[in-house]
């Protein structure tokens, strides 16, 4: 039995997971139109490489990675690109973003795929490039490009953690995927282990998912000849506590190590990937299939809560229709109830980060009572998994005292919402932290722009001064030449008269 550690705080919200685990994963039908955003991942948006009117095949590249942290975007089915333009997307701002509109032709015709026959004969760098071009990003919610997380340089990675904790209430997509495709996950995990050259692979699953734990254990012990597991693979049941699935907290539970502030897990020799990401890594390398679909939990105020394998770009309204939404639904949440966001509308597409869509109603999520003043009860301190002082962060963010907020480790906040959950005054604490973080980022950006402008202005002044000087020198040289010429003329004139 492995020794497990604990992290500070945490909460036990009602899980509501049983609702959507009664039925196996179903494949959602190809929708009438697909809206594929070019910016589905953390970092820079992909650059469109198709035009309206082009016919594309399933798996064809439509967006090229643009920038260091970026990922490719592909056509999820065959059809015609009818438009490339702004479309509303799932973003807390409610602002539109660049999307490709694809009308499927119903043939679902694949483009030519080039699978890797023996990945062990390739260098990790080559495999990373393949993942980048396959659009593989973290499927846990942050959608961070996986190839970047595999670029560890000279750092030695001892432990690779496969994150199947799925700590947020309602969401069951990883649970159902582990039950259904544990073999793919283990194969993908082995590929990730190979690329990182890690000694051990730990599959962390919360102990409220016994079926998933069993499925993974069986997949590891099944002596399939193609598996060839290197290193030690072990499934670990971790205690069910929110936010136990957050990378830093999970590392703490499994290894007892703490990721220092401002550092990455790789700095302490650990790297984390979501289990579904491992599954898509396997498909990308072994079958050459880019990331075209993902499992989405449809739950909440619906008659038929279930997990669906939906194509990226499926409009949310067509997907939730499969769940048979009850009439008193008053909104939708993408992601979980703790960290997810209210959707501005249902005409937004499913993206790589969409793990769950919850239909909300007055009964499930009653309107929070108005926020009352902070009474400094420090219940937020007791539950904070990052060991922060949330009431201080709130105080400084509220009064826009960003310097002090930053000094109180605002950027170590993982925005898990545990503090807001327990706050007896119902203060939307996380909203204040998000506000402060984005203000600080904007200020830093402005400061950088101002520094560049100062430099350019100083150069501008220097250039004008230099031009003036050059002009004066030229003038002086010309005058000198004129004087000399005159002297010569006078001299020759004199000699002539002589």
């Amino acid at each position: 039995m492995r020794t497990l550690y604990t992290f500070h705080g945490g909460i036990h919200p009602p899980s509501h997971k049983a609702q959507s685990t009664q039925k196996p994963i179903a494949r959602a039908p190809v929708p009438s139109t697909l809206i594929v955003p070019f910016h589905q991942h953390a970092g820079e948006a992909a650059k469109p490489v198709v035009q309206a009117g082009n016919h594309v095949l399933r798996g064809q590249l439509i967006g090229l990675p643009d920038g260091f942290i970026s990922s490719a975007v592909h056509a999820p089915t065959s059809g015609t690109i009818t438009a490339i333009g702004m479309h509303s997307v799932a973003h807390p701002s409610g602002l539109p973003n660049l999307c490709a509109t694809l009308v499927p032709d119903g043939k679902d015709e694949w483009t030519t795929l080039s699978p890797v026959t023996d990945y062990r004969s390739h260098s990790p760098a080559e495999l990373q490039q393949l993942l980048r071009m396959s659009g593989v990003v973290g499927l846990g919610g942050a959608a961070f490009p996986s190839d970047i997380k595999l670029r560890v340089g000279k750092l030695k990675i001892s432990t690779l953690i496969l994150n199947g904790a799925e700590c947020e209430p309602y969401i069951t997509c990883d649970d159902m995927l582990m039950r259904k495709s544990a073999g793919d996950i283990v194969r993908g995990a082995e590929m990730l282990r190979f690329m990182l050259d890690a000694n051990e692979v730990l599959y962390a699953v919360e102990d409220n998912k016994p079926e998933a734990i069993l499925a993974l254990q069986q997949a590891i012990s099944a002596s399939s000849p193609d598996l060839q597991l290197g290193g030690r693979h072990e499934v670990i049941a971790i205690p069910t506590i929110y936010p136990g699935g957050s990378a830093k907290q999970l590392i703490r539970v499994l290894t007892g190590l703490e990721v220092p502030s401002g550092k990455l897990p790789t700095d302490i020799g650990v790297q984390c990937f979501n289990v579904a990401t491992a599954g898509s890594v396997f498909r990308a390398l072994a079958h050459g299939e880019p990331l075209l679909s993902r499992i989405v939990t449809i739950t909440g105020n619906v008659r038929n809560a279930q997990n669906f394998e939906a194509l990226i770009g499926t409009p949310v309204d067509e997907l939730i229709a499969l769940g048979d939404v009850l009439p008193n639904t008053n909104g939708y949440i993408m992601g979980g109830p703790m960290m997810g966001m209210s959707l501005p509308g249902v005409n937004v597409p499913v993206v790589k980060a969409t793990n769950c869509v919850i239909a909300a109603s007055e009964n499930i999520f009653p309107l929070p009572p108005p926020a009352l003043p902070c009474i400094r009860c420090t219940r937020c301190v007791e539950v904070c998994p990052a060991d922060l002082q949330p009431q201080d962060l709130y105080w400084f963010s509220k009064s826009r005292d960003f310097g002090k907020a930053q000094a109180s480790s605002l950027f170590d906040c993982i925005e898990c919402g545990a503090c807001s959950y327990v706050c007896p005054s119902h203060i939307p604490l996380v909203q204040y932290y998000r506000f402060a973080k984005s203000e600080i980022h904007a200020r830093e950006k402005e400061k950088r722009a101002a520094d560049i402008a100062r430099e350019r202005h100083e150069f501008h002044l220097y250039r004008i001064e230099r031009e003036k000087q050059e002009k004066a020198e030229k003038l002086a040289a010309r005058e000198k030449a004129a004087v000399a010429a005159k002297a010569v003329v006078e001299h020759t004139g004199e000699s002539v008269t002589k």
Partner: protein, 182 residues
Amino acid sequence: MFSALLVMATVAIVLGAVLGFAAIKFRVEGNPLVDKIDAILPQTQCGQCSYPGCKPYATAIAAGEADINRCPPGGEEGIRKLADLLGVDFKPFGGDTAAPKPKSVAFIDESTCIGCTLCIQACPVDAIVGAAKQMHTIIAAECTGCELCVAPCPVDCISMMVIEEKITNWKWKYPETGLTPT
């Protein structure tokens, strides 16, 4: 008595020499206060403060010749920061200074541009590219929105475009909470 005087005189000479040496060795180049003020100013170089650029305005503030509320692009926050730095009271915008405007960048209507280079000469941060009788264009990323290029243009082909809110520059808003009277 004499030895005491001698000791005191020696100490005075030594310390004087040390201080004299330190004054030369650790001499502060330029005025550090000017640089601190200049770091707060937004570097638009627009001249709305009636000084030819941010640095001259910073110098004037440091010398006590200019008020701290003459920089519209810096906004009220800029005034607050200057007040904090200088230990003076906050002063709202007023008098002859223009009101702060939303941040914008210049845009050249390239079909109207005659290539006179007047705007290139006016730009304080060299953010306009072009040559005589060739069409000019703005490097939007470098434009500070100072509007100095607008007036010199003989064909009025430069307009200021407000930077729109997009997903890339969107910020989380200040939460609106609290009791509302029923």
